[in-house]
Subunit: 318 residues, 2 copies
């Protein structure tokens, strides 16, 4: 087999078209996604690993207040932030994840540090923060993650007694009131290795201590060079019940399905069968990609070497 | 298809034969396993659901100090207990789980309560305890779970700087210094429904905040009426990296493998390929069972209606 042609795919959450959808705001999202793809692609172009490329992309997605991860994360019902992230290396099946951290600036990097340490896969809460601090990762005050827009969403959600409800004074293309806020990246590098990384602030008004699919290996995040790298976004509990990310890989490995077929079977079949909504991004070792979702839109994009980044919000991904 | 013939399978952890193995002590373990199987079988015999039967079995396994779950749980490196559990209903793919709880007397029941509430799948730490208390589950002081034998194991582990190390002054059949302490149950009821439930105190001297495979749907616990109910025990991180419990079901669903073939492929193939040790118990909708492990022994047993319970510690399970 020849050297692989690298590719990077990212997502910034899935959801419903906002009633007051603003075209001007759409351009802001497209530009943000393109910039992030360009930065990740530069890493792959220079011979960087898939792991490093997804790390760069998620670093930027976390720092961007448009997306619900890191700065700009949603609030729990207690008015706090609890951040989750997971990373997986398709070459070795090594993985690392953090859940319910409140002071780690870049949860994606904390997940990577846990993976590199090699002892545990998932650390939660204060134990995860003690580990991150010991590793020299940047810690911040919990209000670092807060934005006025997210606080307004919490007030709105609590007034109506809804979880996962979200509202924004601005008019972004996807309805913040019904958007699943997660960010993620999957990549293939020139050595033929795959990696996946997912990071999230969870659901607005969620119960403290709730862990969703994002930090769970096999649920919201999975990577195996023999099949695919997958990162999910949506109603986390449904993704957990069907082990969505691993299910894409299993349908390929045992059922001989293509990436596209496997990814669509999960998002259009298994997921709705348990009431799940959302989508996923995936890439296989041949560089094929899939970005199916069963919502009206999903912030997403991909880039191949020597081509400009392609970004999209609505329409069914192919 | 005729009404199913109910079956219940349980495990109490896997590991290595103790150097000072005591035959008298072996009988204690066989008797404990047989008693627990008998209690669970009575439920199934009376027409109870698979969910109720695994609940009864794990209630008793948790309360039995011989096994590392509930009373008799191991200590973390901080001298505390952090308990994890997960349950899954194969008929509906509903699931519930708790991680890192310190005051819930019966973590398996807390997992079931989360599943029944239907809002979230996994709650961790204080948020999980607040939920359990609100549901009226019995709360205890954290030292309820402590036993002198487990404290001695922590002292020994810390003296040698090992995690997962365990030592007991007595001479149980499996070496407490190298045993993976988890309990679990899987069942088929007369309605053809499957359920799985796993509960654990984790690894002696583990880092606080570490979450293993037991409470993670797809890793240590999975159930789907179309394939199997699975409960795992072993080096949790390896089970997480291969999504072990879901992988058994996926090999059956997509690869057309039998329960026995699928379970062995995971325990003898995928698991050692990532350095994993341990075993699992599984039952399919036809009542076939599998109990493979790649360690020297696994505390285990099964019971079918109208037959006496069968228990085992050593030898390869068939």
């Amino acid at each position: 087999m020849n050297a692989s042609s690298p590719v990077l795919v990212i997502h910034g959450g899935a959801g419903t078209i906002a009633p007051s959808r603003s075209v001007a705001e759409e351009l802001v999202y497209h530009a943000a996604l393109a910039d992030i793809l360009t930065a990740g692609a530069a890493c792959l172009e220079a011979g960087g690993s898939a792991l490093d490329a997804v790390g760069i992309a998620v670093d930027l997605l976390e720092e961007c207040p448009l997306f619900n991860a890191g700065h700009g994360a949603v609030f729990t019902s207690a008015g706090t932030h609890e951040l989750d992230a997971a990373v997986m290396d398709g070459a070795t099946l090594r993985a690392g994840a953090v859940a319910a951290v409140t002071r780690v600036r870049r949860p994606g990097r904390a997940a990577r540090a846990i993976m590199e340490a090699g002892e545990h896969v998932l650390l939660a809460g204060p134990g995860a923060e003690a580990f991150a601090r010991h590793q020299g990762l940047e810690m911040v005050e919990p209000d670092f993650f807060s934005t006025e827009a997210r606080r307004a969403q919490l007030v709105q959600a609590q007034a109506t007694g809804r979880i996962a409800l979200d509202h924004d004074g601005a008019s972004p293309p996807l309805d913040e009131a019904r958007k699943f806020g997660t960010v993620g990246a999957v990549a293939l590098d020139r050595h033929g290795h795959l990696a996946a990384l997912t990071s999230t602030g969870g659901m607005t008004n969620k119960r403290p201590g709730r862990i969703g699919d994002s930090p769970l290996i096999g649920a919201g995040t999975y990577a195996d060079d023999r099949t695919a790298a997958v990162s999910c976004t949506g109603t986390g509990e449904a993704f957990m019940r069907i082990a969505a990310a691993h299910d894409v890989c299993a349908r390929m490995a045992y059922g001989g399905r293509s990436l596209e077929d496997a990814a669509r079977a999960v998002v259009e079949g298994a997921l709705p069968s348990v009431g799940g909504r959302g989508g996923l991004i995936a890439v296989d070792a041949a560089g094929r990609i899939a970005m199916p979702f069963n919502t009206e839109g999903m912030y997403r994009g991909h880039v191949r070497m020597g081509e400009p980044p392609a970004t999209a919000i609505f329409g069914q991904a192919r």
